[in-house]
């Protein structure tokens, strides 16, 4: 591996941009008008900012209104079986008024349904991280591990995780572990592949630094490999969580029992369409929230985004 140890000749791009700051001769400091901030940092005047804020709120609102109007029109003309927006709203407020009611195992509030789904996603996601990230590390570090696993992963990755559900039901003979298993399968490929890509992308320079310092295997992993790969790992986790949230709905439709996907299917069997529309909205919002959490983790852990 030392054979690629040669630093490149020729200019490195990054240096030039900051060079004026480095030498710090007062006479040729970057030209900034005395007392004034550089133009790029100047705050926009209040009026313009208010206008911008108003537009970022107003325009999406218009879009939503247009969708509601379209829905209404559709309902009045070609699809009278759809509920009206007003009826859906009334229904939603009543459902959301008591999200955590319990009338036995087959009749629980939407809050419980969501929590069960989130729990399965969390478990599958966590297990996938436990297996996928170390395996990704090994694949990135060893050509032979890569050779051993790559074909298998290439074959399995394009398969819809739902295809694994029967296998899960067969092996676990229960709904919960089967759904978790499906989420595990969903999450593991992006985690493995991103982690492996992250390890491979570590610049030879960092490895040379480690070599000169004679870092041991453990120190190398802790001080160099892990932090250098972290941004890739978090990206893999973020991707897989997004997909997992989509997959869980479908999985629960098939498994039944409890969970937001089951709830959607159950309400469909009761021909309770307002519930389904409500579920679509809520699933979307939870998806956004999950992505926000991962985005937050990313900005805290990823040194390239600080």
């Amino acid at each position: 591996m030392h054979a690629q140890a040669l630093p490149l000749d020729g200019p490195v791009v990054e240096a030039a941009a900051n060079a004026a700051v480095a030498s710090q001769p007062p006479a040729i400091a970057p030209a900034v008008p005395p007392g004034g901030e550089p133009a790029a940092h100047r705050r926009p005047p209040n009026r313009e900012r208010n206008r911008r804020i108003a537009l970022t709120l107003l325009l999406p609102l218009l879009t939503f209104l247009a969708v509601l109007a379209g829905w209404s029109a559709l309902q009045k003309t070609v699809a009278p079986e759809l509920p009206t927006p007003a009826a859906t709203w009334t229904h939603a407020t009543s459902v959301l008024a008591d999200p955590f009611y319990e009338n036995g195992p087959n009749d629980m509030g939407i809050g419980w349904q969501l929590l069960y789904s989130l729990g399965r996603v969390g478990a599958g996601f966590g297990l996938a991280a436990l297996v996928g990230i170390p395996l990704g590390f090994l694949m990135g570090m060893s050509v032979n591990v890569q050779r051993a696993f790559s074909p298998l992963i290439q074959i399995l990755r394009p398969v819809s995780p739902l295809a694994w559900l029967p296998i899960g039901l067969l092996v676990f003979k229960a709904v919960d572990p089967s759904a978790i298993f499906v989420i595990f399968i969903t999450c593991i490929w992006p985690m493995i592949l991103n982690t492996a890509a992250g390890v491979k992308a570590i610049p030879q320079d960092y490895m040379n630094v480690a070599a000169v310092l004679k870092l041991g295997k453990f120190e190398l992993a802790r001080r160099i490999l892990f932090p250098a790969t972290l941004p890739y790992v978090v990206t893999g986790m973020r991707l897989s969580l997004g997909v997992a949230w989509m997959v869980i709905v479908a999985a629960e439709m098939l498994t039944g029992g409890i969970g937001i996907g089951f709830w959607v299917w159950d309400e469909w069997n009761n021909l309770n369409v307002p519930s389904i529309i409500l579920a679509i909205a809520i699933i979307g919002l939870v998806g956004i929230a999950l992505d926000l959490v991962m985005g937050l983790a990313q900005s805290r852990l990823d040194y390239t985004k600080r």
Binding site: P7, D9, A17, A19, V21, N208
Partner: protein
């Protein structure tokens, strides 16, 4: 003869897709303790390869390097390297980048002593004020300073620098060259530096090692630079001895070793 750093008949052959490629042949060089040596030559001739062999990052196919009489085997902090593109770890602060080296090299010292040593080395390169910044927040010249501080903090027997200023603008480069001269005068480091800048080589070096073009590159000539120290770049600009040395290097590079047609 007992040189501090002794390169004996070093040669290297790289296996490539198009068969073996001989990059270096018969490199012999003796460096005294405290000496500042520059390696100069056209791009792709094999300067980095020589440095990496001394660093232990590459294994020579023939010959060997002796440091203080012992054969160099593998990399180690006794031969600290300043890489061309600084290679600071971007997730660590300036302080932590140097600390990583200090913790590794001085495990016997206590926390306060190691802290002092980190700060001392940052002061040497005038970077103590930015100890808590991350590499992404400082300029290219500053990063290179930190890279030098990290290498110095290892108290290496030999300081190896691979075009340490190659990526910097002329002014920043001049500042750093002056810093390196000051530090070397103070600490008496043994330095091997790669450069392709003739002025830099003459200004900094005790001897300039001029390499022939590859393949099978070797040392073409060695030029002693007997200009008195401390050296002042402005005064030297009017010094005929300086210009004589400079034109000797230029003559070697551009007449005797005309640039290879397809330079890397």
């Amino acid at each position: 003869m007992n040189a501090y750093l002794d390169l004996q008949k070093i040669g290297i052959v790289f296996p490539t897709a198009r068969g073996p490629f001989r990059a270096l042949q018969d490199i012999n060089l003796q460096v005294a303790q405290g000496e500042f040596i520059s390696l100069i030559g056209h791009s792709g001739c094999g300067k980095s390869t020589v440095l990496n062999i001394v660093a232990g990052l590459l294994d020579a196919t023939e010959g060997y390097a002796l440091l203080k009489g012992k054969e160099v085997k593998g990399p180690g902090p006794d031969r600290a390297v300043v890489f061309q593109n600084h290679s600071l770890l971007p997730w660590l602060t300036v302080y932590e980048n140097v600390q990583l080296a200090v913790d590794k090299v001085m495990p016997g010292k206590n926390r306060a002593e190691r802290r002092d040593w980190v700060m001392h080395n940052l002061r040497l390169v005038h970077m103590d004020h930015a100890a808590d910044k991350r590499p992404g927040e400082i300029s290219g010249g500053m990063k290179q300073r930190v890279g030098i501080a990290r290498a110095l903090a290892m108290q290496p027997d030999v300081l190896l620098m691979d075009e340490p200023f190659g990526a910097l603008d002329a002014l920043t480069r001049a500042h750093l060259q002056d810093s390196v001269m000051e530090i070397q005068a103070e600490l008496g480091n043994t330095v091997m530096m790669i450069t392709h800048d003739v002025d830099e080589a003459v200004l900094l070096s005790d001897r300039i090692v001029m390499m022939t073009n590859g393949p099978a590159a070797t040392i073409g000539a060695i030029l002693g630079v007997d200009l008195p120290r401390p050296r002042d770049r402005l005064a030297l600009a009017h010094d005929p001895a300086y210009h004589a040395l400079r034109s000797q290097v230029l003559d070697f590079l551009y007449n005797r070793q005309a640039r290879p047609r397809e330079a890397a």
